[in-house]
Amino acid sequence: MGRFVARRLLQMIPVFLGTVTIIFFMTRMLPGDPAAAMWGDKAADPAQLAAFKHRMGLDVSIGRQYLNYMGDLLTGNFGETMAGRKVIDVIGEALPVTVRLALLAFVFELVVGVTIGLFSGLRRGKAFDKSALVLTLLLISIPVPVLGFIFQNVFAIQLKWITPTVQDSMNLGQLILPAVVLGSISLAYVARLTRTSIAENLKADYMRTAVAKGLPRRKVIGTHLLRNSMIPVVTFLGTDLGALMGGAIVTEGIFNVKGVGNALYHAINLNEGATVSGFVVVLVLVYLAASLIVDLLYAVLDPRIRYA
């Protein structure tokens, strides 16, 4: 187990460096000059533009910029935005918001999704199963923006239960509605994955053994059936957590949540390579960590899986 983790951690180094390198060159290859973009539609003053480029380190070759960037990164310096703010501060503001939103959405899809999936799987073909299938089909087919606007209109503008947008992005209570919208599609996938997995494992040999041993039904389902059926679901949830952390540009836009998606959208619009790369660096780390945890969870869930 320890060796497995160590090996995985070592493997992360080339993956990390590779992604950062690719992203660095991709953001720098975006059309348009990021320094000139500060003047918008008006013509940039050439003398001031040159001074800006010098300050931002954009007046040297792309290879030199890359070396400077990687050198700074290794010392924990993520660089500055065009406006002269530290990129790490921008990340520091957006990330806690997104962590809250993502975890809420994650818990929602996990709890509700697995519950629906479990009961559907156990009662295949019954009324509950059929309505769950219809509901999940509906969720999968409605685009997130549509769902967002419907919820906003119904709960905020018609019923006035909540404010239409999030007034304080750090307030968990206000983030519930965006989280439900954000988690709804994944919820449908989680429910369907769980259902299929449960239905299949019901016929497994170990289930028959467990029932034959006379174990109580609660234990048969909770310990044997559910645990074994969670493997495909955990795989999905692991990558989904990464996706949720990457920010939800559309949902954050509808509800005015000041998270990673919103910050990335602005940075890309302004052609701010340093900010975009900074966020991607953090997101790569999150993805790597999530996939490692998923792999370790396999062993916990299924005793047959062992890591040397």
């Binding site: 059309p31 000059d33 003398a47 002269g84």
Partner: protein, 541 residues
Amino acid sequence: MPAGTRVRWAVVSATSVALVATGCGGNGGGSGGGSSDTSKTFTYQSSEPQNPLQPANANEVGGGRIVQNLFKGLADYDPSSGKLRMQAADKIDTSDAQTYNVTLKSGWTFHDGTAVTSKSFVDAWNWAASTKNNQINSSWFADIEGYADVHPASGNPTKDTMSGLTVQDDTHFTIKLSNKVSYFPYKLGYVAFSPLPEGFFKDPAGYGQKPVGNGPYEFVSWDHNSQVVTKTFANYQGVDKPKNGGVVFKMYTTAEAAYADLQSNNLDVMDQVPPSALANYKNDLGDRAIDAPQGGIQNVGFTLYQADWQGQDKAKVRQGLSMAIDRDTITKTVLQGSRKPATAWVAEGVEGYKSGTCGDFCTYNADKAKQLIQEGGGVPGNSIKITYNADGGHKEWVDAVCNSIRQATGVNCAGDPKTDFKTARAAITGHQINGLFRTGWVQDYPLNANFLADVYRTGAASNDTGYSSPEFDKLANEADQASSIQDTATGYQKAEEQLAIDMPAIPLWYYRTNSGFSTKVQNVTFDSFGNPAWTQVEVKG
């Protein structure tokens, strides 16, 4: 020169159905006339400032609006008429349009209690003009004598001060320009010409995060990406004393979110309703809806630097194309009334605006259009493309313009979308396009010279068409030498007539402010910059 902000521009250029504008004279106004509480603050839809809050660094709307409220220069523009009015200056005199004598009013102080003196202005301008201080609007000081010393075309500045600025005493200073610019006081209304307190120069970065100004509102806090809070400055000496307790600038990512908040009273005043709400916002908001002119114009420019479009005959072709565009129908249908058909190259309501300079050439007439194009030798290849940025909602009207041209004249016309605003700008300034492109102008200051000299003079920074007319340049130069603003404006009206003869760009329509306010506020009016008259907003008691 940049007057609009980065964001605003992106929007202008970009969001066709909803943004930017011209003209003066806000309308709108109050629903009801109930009592108001001068200690209460109101919220305004904003976006995160992209630069530190320094007066010469605020060229985008997010930061620009905040800085405008925290600082007040020698003069500003009356929100209702767009005319220049004195603020910190008692008077600005000149006898030759080159040397300006400024007399300050007494009693003005910064929010930290220190006095606003001649030195506060002169030091601030010298600091802002220097390339080494990296202020985006540093080129606004280019008219002042000695500018090249602090802002050389390349290399480091040789001096820290401009020789044209001389302090006489605490309330008097002179500005000497390197050339005659009769409308220079109009430029002084721009926020880049604000004064700065002594403490600023010791810590410009710190003051950029916690600005100390001399405007109607003082800075309270800046919660990044969330809000900037201001409160009324008790010792404000300007002519526009605030009727409210302060402005809270609340950051929104999308206009849709802001509009939803406005409808439920979680936001008091907004910028522009989202395109999706244009059709219904007047019904939704009733007498709380705003529809006011703005100082901005949408044009289609020609690549006059290409041989295909040169020569006097081709001017006829360009005039013909202009006549083939049915502006009335397109603004009513595709643009849902959010624009007003243009009849000149200067936006409505601006000082020196004269309607109808474009004459028949801006009036739809299919037969005449066809005839002019034939007389001019036709369009090269009988086919044109209009380049535009695809991220701004321009597609609908570009297609409509093309349809109109095709039906009226038989010339093939198609839109040529570029992925986004920056890409389109890079192609336009890099001369990498063919034929026609979407362009526009939003006023830096409400004077016709700004719409003409900065866009159509030979070699002007924003002259994207490559237009170069000796007649236009001569008339513009004469106007610059005039002895009064009125004469300048009249002079530029003459220069504008030359544009009808040459048609370097087709004027399409003027921008408007389509906005609204919540039930908690009243007396909300918008100026030609698309900003509310901040200090006049009343919060209901």
